[in-house]
Amino acid sequence: MTETNHEPGMKEYIAIWVGLLCIVGIEAFLTSMNLSTRTLLVSLLVLAFIEAGIALLYFMHLKYEKPNLFWSLVPAVIFVLFMMNHIWPDAYRMANLRVPIQ
């Protein structure tokens, strides 16, 4: 993240767009393979975060704004999403301790 106004031109944007399409293609390819649910989920999430990061930095120009903007917004969102992870034990309780379906 640098403080500069040198935003990418359309050629760079097209290259980024092609890269994002390639990532979507990889996601579809992974889905067609016989991966376990856990492996598929982790792979898709990693790829989705890479895609989102590229979109945020280049398409939304966050890379070319003052660093203050990034540090004011992004850590707060990550913290909130991180705090939501406390729900998983209850989700597993629902799955494992429920009355079996007849």
Partner: protein, 210 residues
């Protein structure tokens, strides 16, 4: 300038700090909206994952063809609309009004194509018996509830974005709005695209029948 005005200006200068972000206020406002909306989508996707883990008879109704192929086409259309939005933004910054309007029009058309493909898929699922509270496969109804809720919220954002782009195009054409408004609306449109990057893998690819 009188002495009293000079004193007033000096007073304001002391009271107003320079902006730490160096952004137009509308752009900063859009960033704050995007951050709050990101948390909203994050929360409903966490809710979806919670229900999915806690529901033993979860249905995975999608097949690679036609569901995932349709989803891939929708993704291609939405990603392409981000590219046309960037072209509109670049043209607006350089003062090329007709070019900006052309690219804004292309973005609107691609948004309408995305919404049409989405609604076509929904109506196909309704015909199969899916709804917020019905599962034609006999499993948990939670799939329909979460799928239609999350994709519905995203579709609402797309439709809102299309309306906003049309308003911005009209305003920019009549010099009522400027390049900053085009850029700010572009931020929103890219965010809608960003959300789809999570919705597509989590709701479509993770629900392919095995």
């Amino acid at each position: 300038m009188s002495e009293s005005e000079i004193t007033l200006d000096a007073g304001h200068a002391a009271a107003l700090e320079p902006s730490p972000y160096a952004l137009q206020s509308k752009k900063l406002t859009m960033w704050l909206f995007i951050i709050s909306d990101a948390v909203t989508f994050g929360a409903i996707l966490f809710g979806y994952a919670y229900l999915r883990i806690g529901t033993p008879n979860w249905s995975t109704p999608f097949h690679f063809s036609p569901n995932i192929v349709n989803g891939l086409v929708m993704t291609f259309v939405l990603l392409s609309s981000s590219l046309t939005m960037l072209a509109a933004d670049a043209a607006a910054k350089e003062g090329r009004k007709s070019s900006c309007l052309k690219w804004l029009g292309a973005t609107v058309v691609l948004g309408i194509v995305f919404a049409t493909l989405h609604l076509r898929e929904w109506f196909h699922m309704f015909d199969e018996g899916w709804s917020l509270s019905k599962n034609p496969l006999g499993g948990s109804v939670q799939f329909g509830a979460t799928f239609f809720s999350i994709t519905g919220l995203h579709l609402m954002h797309v439709i809102s974005g299309i309306i906003a782009l049309i308003v911005i195009a009209i305003g920019y054409n009549t010099d009522w709005l400027d390049a900053g408004h085009v850029e700010t609306t572009g931020l929103y449109w890219h965010f809608v695209d960003l959300v789809w990057m999570f919705v597509f893998p989590l709701l479509y690819l993770m629900n392919v029948a095995r």
